[in-house]
Symmetry: C2
Subunit: 261 residues, 2 copies
């Protein structure tokens, strides 16, 4: 999308039927002729870790489905600070704007595989085929819900709770996106972000994040195989610490009421 010279080469799309995204992503709404149209305009692309996919203010020339990897969404403030506003995983969609230019930057947190679609024919397909637009609309509504939940985290929670909240989100998403079935209530994953990036996501400093990760570790809520490899032995307990999370499920609420510190 940004077209840096070091981008990997374009390749024709793998047959959609064999694609990991076929039954969960945008294309799950399509079949027959419509799917052919999308497949014909789609191009696979691999983006190495830490490379920008597009930048805030860039003209929005492409849309993309994420096939694998993790993407950071980044806002840069006037004084040059970075703030991460979201993470995108496999099956998510990038570039849901009606405007001509992007409202934030997207960068690969890990190596990322994308299926990209040029703007004009994609928008035409959207106009012709309401179910696909409906999928995008619902995706956007979910994003909005998550964003509103997140404002609670940033507005009201302590640094300890914030770090727990973010790890919880990443843990759940890792469980959902991961392949193998895991023990119930258990998660193990590689953090796609550095301490500094976690801080940019949470509105904290990297020192505070480091301290709170340490505290979670001391309290036994997480284990670290390395600084990036996290194990959450009991997701419910972590949810209890993240507390008042809105997205707190019945399970978590239960744990919260049980008599342990």
């Amino acid at each position: 999308m940004a077209g840096q010279p070091n981008d990997r080469a374009y390749a024709p799309p793998a047959r959609c039927e064999m694609c990991v995204a076929r039954y969960r992503a945008l294309c799950s709404t399509l079949s027959g002729e419509q799917l052919d149209r999308l497949a014909n305009m789609g191009r696979r692309r691999t983006v190495p870790a830490n490379q920008y996919i597009f930048r805030d203010g860039d003209e929005a020339l492409y849309f993309a489905s994420i096939l694998s990897g993790v993407v950071k969404l980044i806002k840069t403030t006037a004084d040059g600070e970075q703030h991460i506003i979201g993470l995108m995983y496999a099956q998510d969609f990038l570039g849901h704007t009606f405007g001509k230019s992007h409202r934030f930057s997207a960068a690969a947190a890990t190596e990322v595989e994308l299926c990209t679609f040029p703007r004009a024919p994609f928008v035409r397909l959207l106009d012709d085929y309401p179910p696909m637009e409906r999928w995008l609309f619902e995706f956007t509504v979910r994003e909005l819900d998550h964003c509103r939940d997140w404002t609670l985290t940033l507005g009201r929670k302590s640094s300890y709770e914030r770090v727990a909240s973010l790890l919880l989100i990443i843990a759940r998403r890792a469980r959902y996106t991961g392949n193998g079935p895991l023990p119930r209530n258990y998660a193990q994953f590689e953090l796609p972000l550095t301490r500094s990036e976690l801080a940019d996501y949470l509105g904290l400093t990297l020192e505070t994040v480091s301290r709170m990760v340490g505290k979670l570790k001391r309290k036994g809520l997480i284990e670290l195989r390395s600084t990036r490899e996290v194990i959450v032995p009991d997701i419910g307990l972590l949810a209890a610490v993240a507390s008042m999370d809105g997205s707190l499920d019945a399970e978590g609420r239960q744990k919260l009421l049980e008599p342990h510190e």
Copy 2:
């Protein structure tokens, strides 16, 4: 929607052509037969200030366009604290969820006039008529953009900047929604929120909000005719204080670079 006994009586819709919302709200996408369908299912309703319109968790039985007044969107945390996640004004739409129940509460900040639509026929019209769905989709995308901008305010700004940011948003919206043309760069409006509500919006305490409003007043960025009546003599200056605001326009950016404190 909530159906409290003290709700005013339902009335048949005023002829749409005379409605303030006709050319800006959802219904601006409609004409002829489709507009008739919407008009026939719509019911006007007046909600007095400080009354709930619907509550978090309620089954979403109605959608609504706001005709006049200001609506607070409120999340209540597990421990009972309130957090305001947004304000809605005339021409905005309430209840854009695909889920069966509301994800937050809505309450009238001022007296509010609504045009309400029962869920089932409204969703049918949405299915039948893509341009209306498109309007809602675009509205949701704008909401998402604003919400993401807001996470920057909550995550990174000082209390002074936050208060300035919120007053700026309210001032701009008041200019946009207000009737008469105002002097360029000038705004005057009645705050729809108490200090305590401003604090719930900003993730601060009411004392801090009060102090920062006082500071803005001392520095001449705002004037107060009463505690609720605000005058912003120069919106650009206020935008400069709110700074790094993302939504900072060219005008504001200009001011930011000029040599005044």
